[in-house]
Symmetry: C2
Subunit: 191 residues, 2 copies
Amino acid sequence: MFESIGAKPLVFTTPVWIIGTYDLDGKPNMMTVSWGGICCSKPPCVNICLRKATYSFAGLVEHAAFTINVPSEELAHEAEFFGRASGRTTDKLAATGLTAVRSELVDAPYLAEVPLVLECAVRHTLEIGLHTMFVGEILDIKAAEEVLDSRGIPDPKKVRPFVYSPEAKVYHGLGVNLGKAGTLYKEITRD
Amino acid sequence: MFESIGAKPLVFTTPVWIIGTYDLDGKPNMMTVSWGGICCSKPPCVNICLRKATYSFAGLVEHAAFTINVPSEELAHEAEFFGRASGRTTDKLAATGLTAVRSELVDAPYLAEVPLVLECAVRHTLEIGLHTMFVGEILDIKAAEEVLDSRGIPDPKKVRPFVYSPEAKVYHGLGVNLGKAGTLYKEITRD
């Protein structure tokens, strides 16, 4: 039996990404978002959604660029801090001790300490409501050497990303490996 | 040390959602996507991104509505099947034995067997490239009674959603509980 629980911004699961931008003075700022996702394969694009009230907003518009920094489980406290404190009143990089690096591809900083970084140039902006969507073209991905598998592809179990469940308000790491894509569906077609 | 791995539609992690639509003849169709995410809190909106070549595309445009069906781990095989087979040549509901139910709120069907359903009306369409984005307003969420916690909120450990890691091409369930949102960041501010 289904129960109606109303209209909410709720789905399982959402990502936890630290967004790197420069502010209007060119100072690096980091904020954490869970509203976003990959949105195109060619050109490779990803979107993130921000409220206008955030400190990152104006800088993102001005520089038309952002990075997505995928934190490992070890950085869960820092990731949440970047989402709670405001760059208006707090030097979040100093408070966390993490390091901003200037991207050579886009006008945005990334974090030296995360295992996976996407460098993105804004291609579309869409006003939706409380949130504005920025669609960024992924110009390059940088991965820490130690998280690459033998094919040079980031291994999720080495990256150790974590996810957020809205309303339930809880974070989970990755669990059991359910199998390789392209193998599971065969069980159905074999029927 | 970071290694540049090029421009790809890769980020960790992406969701696995079964999208319910009616086709141009009003027949229910299901397809699976991993390109999408929540994109606004007010009004609550979520986006999904489809290639024009998919069978679901024309019906989604015509009916301006879709459902997001969040499969539990138990439905991983069916979810992948919905993403691999085409409604053009296969009756995917018959092949999986799953049941389409007509939404009373939007012109789209949902699956009776999933723990969590979002009923969405298309509000924006954005051409990005190979993929077209549909932003849907979430008009209601339906949750199976047995996945609700004592507050009436879906419990992710009962829903048991799973995630996809692009390029690595692997699915993972939810793992360790890293803590409640709103508690982790305090460790940083206490410094």
